[in-house]
């Protein structure tokens, strides 16, 4: 008999290069612990995050997807996160409309100085997604082992 393994979610975090990725670096150099379930993908700006990537992550086995960018108004490219915010607002609303758990997706604005916020956000998000359990509603069974 195999032991029932404790559920550990797979979390993809898209981080903009200028603020949130640097925030993650600061969290790292400040030795602020957050779960290893979070894996970061570096993008130049939050506006680079295509809804396709988010759906793709769920398809491939992610249980939660978080996008982190510069605070509104602080975008390195001036307006990228504003566009990203609109896109994600609509996308998340649509996922919710389709009955897909809203808590599986999140957007957070984290500056390069907010290492603590980065770690806190990731801790919270992992806890939320862990509580939700496995992603069933946007899963692709072909991708499961």
């Amino acid at each position: 008999m195999q032991d029932v393994k404790e559920f550990r979610p797979t979390i993809v975090a898209f981080c903009c290069n200028w603020c949130s990725y640097a925030g993650a670096d600061l969290a790292g150099s400040s030795r602020l612990v957050y779960p290893a379930d979070v894996k970061i993908i570096r993008v130049p700006c939050s506006c680079r995050v295509n809804p396709l990537f988010i759906l793709r992550a769920f398809q491939r086995g992610a249980d939660g997807v978080i996008m982190a960018g510069c605070h509104p108004g602080d975008c390195h490219y001036t307006s990228g996160n504003y566009f990203a915010r609109r896109r994600m607002t609509l996308l998340f609303s649509m996922l919710d409309y389709l009955g897909i758990e809203r808590e599986r997706t999140r957007v957070e604005w984290i500056s390069a100085a907010e290492g603590a916020k980065f770690a806190k956000t990731m801790n919270e998000f992992v806890a939320t997604v862990t509580a939700l359990g496995e992603n069933k509603r946007l899963e692709d069974l072909r991708c499961k082992k």
Binding site: R60, G61, R142, C143, K145
Partner: protein, 340 residues
């Protein structure tokens, strides 16, 4: 000829379903009939026909063909085929039943398609004669009798129940297995039902439609006809006609990388799609008129050429009802056949 009283219909279904999966037309949430697996309480649809044809049972929209395991430089080919379980499809209409013969002529000729064959062997087809054909019906054009469908078992709806006739060994076996629910039936009731159906059929607008102007040996005559352009002008290049068609059998083979290996699957394809003939160095059918022509030439000329004059159409009328822009095989055949 056996008879099943109306009261025993559910017992009959239950008896079949106890041994194998039973599929029958059931109304879905928008009131259209789909073939659905029977479970206790399932009610059979009264609709004339299902939205999707019965071809799905033998040629499903998608199916996994095989898997590959890739490791370093190595490739392991995994044959993921499994023996299909027995199943029964109940309530197939004459047109769809005739379509199986057309699919067979493609998939069961050498080299045999084992995926198809596997399902075909394990499936028992119970057809049901049509009671009230619709104006889109033109199975008669192809010599198909809506009142006397083929299949392993044929069923007629009569006043107080159903008349059943086994046509094949599989059919005999099915009726034998449910013999305790059946009683002897009288041919007369069937004949009356058939007469009624045929009478309606004769009054419908497409009664008497013939495809004489198209068919065997007409490739050269029809291929360059100018009407193709006008006929295809409004075609969207979608796959609706193809996908609701019981005889369309083209497919695509695709690979899906799951991250843990490759799944090679096949799925329905449509010659109406712009990428159907697209290859690395170009496309042999670049415009919708060519693709449109291909679909209809195939059904009306090429297929008959290869199959003793049998058309690649069974007159189910689904494309007539479903084409988003109301273009269909009847309009095409009439236009091409009409102005000789």
């Amino acid at each position: 000829m056996k008879k099943l009283s109306l009261a025993k219909l559910n017992d009959f279904f239950a008896a079949i379903a106890a041994k194998q999966a039973l599929y029958l037309p059931v109304n879905n949430k928008v009131g259209k009939a789909d073939f659905t697996k029977w479970t206790a309480g399932t009610e059979m649809s009264k609709a004339l026909n299902t939205v999707r044809s019965a071809k799905d049972f033998f040629f499903p929209q998608t199916e996994n063909l095989m898997d590959f395991k890739m490791e370093g430089k190595n490739i392991e080919v995994i044959d993921s085929r499994e023996e299909c379980e027995d199943f029964v499809v109940f309530g197939v209409r004459a047109c769809d039943a005739a379509s199986f013969a057309i699919l067979d002529s493609v998939y069961l000729v050498d080299p045999v398609d084992s995926y198809y064959k596997n399902r075909r062997e394990h499936g028992t087809v119970v057809t049901m004669a049509c009671g009230k054909p619709a104006e889109t019906c033109f199975c008669g054009t192809f010599g198909i009798d809506a009142a006397n469908p083929a299949g392993d078992v044929t069923v007629w709806e009569v006043a107080d129940g159903y008349m059943l006739r086994a046509n094949t060994e599989k059919g005999e076996a099915l009726l034998a297995a449910t013999a305790d629910l059946l009683e002897a039936g009288d041919e007369k009731a069937v004949e009356a039902a058939q007469a009624k159906t045929r009478e309606i059929m004769a009054k419908l607008p497409l009664a008497g439609l013939t495809f004489d102007g198209v068919g065997v040996g007409k490739t050269k005559e029809l291929f360059d006809r100018p009407e193709w352009k006008t006929l295809s002008e409004s075609c969207l290049g979608c796959g609706t006609c193809t996908f609701v068609c019981p005889t369309c059998q083209c497919y695509d083979v695709r690979d899906f990388d799951t991250g843990n290996g490759i799944k090679r699957f096949r799925c329905w394809d449509s010659c109406m799609y712009s990428d159907f003939t697209l290859m690395a160095h170009g496309n042999s059918r670049n415009s919708q008129v060519e693709r449109f022509r291909q679909r209809f030439m195939h059904k009306l000329v090429y297929y008959p050429d290869r199959n003793n004059g049998t058309f690649g159409c069974v007159g189910c009328g689904r494309c007539l009802a479903r084409c988003p822009i109301s273009m269909n095989i009847v309009k095409v055949a009439k236009t091409l056949g009409g102005n000789k």
